[in-house]
């Protein structure tokens, strides 16, 4: 393993997503991200992880998380080996005050880039946050 990578495997158990957000916190702090950006990464990660908890139905009941520190960028990969889903039908337009179905929007709204690879063998969400975003 390179010293710019962190791996975490968490079981699908209550609040275990917070182990991942705290790991993100340490990594992003080491990379000198500012506190608001760290919170954005954390909330985006929570959404990715609870989606795997709630929807993946993976048999190993595990979420695999990788942090890659790449210069100014932090790349976070959240992976499960569940049944995947159809991205196009999941990404429907948000209704007015729609209760659920905001997770994917939140990830995209809070991170600089989000790529989702969903197959019948599982889902992989790759999210990137830059220390200095262009939109700020």
């Amino acid at each position: 393993m390179d010293s710019n990578e962190v791996f975490l495997q968490i079981p699908m158990l209550p609040n275990m997503e917070l182990a991942a957000t705290e790991t993100a916190h340490r990594v992003a702090e080491f990379m000198q991200f500012d506190p608001d950006k760290i919170d954005e990464i954390k909330i985006a990660m929570i959404e990715g992880i609870i989606n795997a908890f709630e929807h993946s139905q993976s048999k190993d009941k595990t979420v695999y998380i990788k942090f890659l520190m790449r210069g100014d960028e932090l790349e976070v990969t959240i992976q499960d080996f569940g049944h995947g889903f159809d991205l196009d039908s999941a990404k429907k337009e948000p209704e007015q005050l729609r209760k659920r179905g905001h997770g994917l929007n939140l990830m995209e709204g809070l991170m600089d880039r989000v790529d989702i690879y969903a197959t019948p063998n599982g889902t992989k969400v790759i999210m990137v946050k830059r220390r200095h975003s262009s939109d700020e």
Binding site: L18, D39, I43, E47, I50, R100, H102, L106, L110
Partner: protein
Amino acid sequence: MADVFKVTTRMEGKYAILYTEGYINNLAGDKIVEEFNQLVAKDVKHYVLNLQKTQLVNSIGISILIEVIEKVQEIGGTLAFCHLTPIIAKTFKIMGLTQYSKVYDTEEDALKN
């Protein structure tokens, strides 16, 4: 980070001010609904949610808050938020909450309006 989520209420005039502490996930959302139901039973119509001690939320927890907003609208009441961190404010905006309930910087502002 607060480890166990807590919600406490203080009354000020016709307002119930609910203080949350900790991560607002589904369980926390349920606790808020419980507190809220007790207040509605006491005929309280106006609510302020002070999130000063909440750093993290998830969309399931927030979806439960949306249900609370709907209920308040049904009984002809009001619900405002205050003391959101910038990122929770951003999260609320992405989720469309800010269209349906007001967000104030401070509790004072929330009570004045």
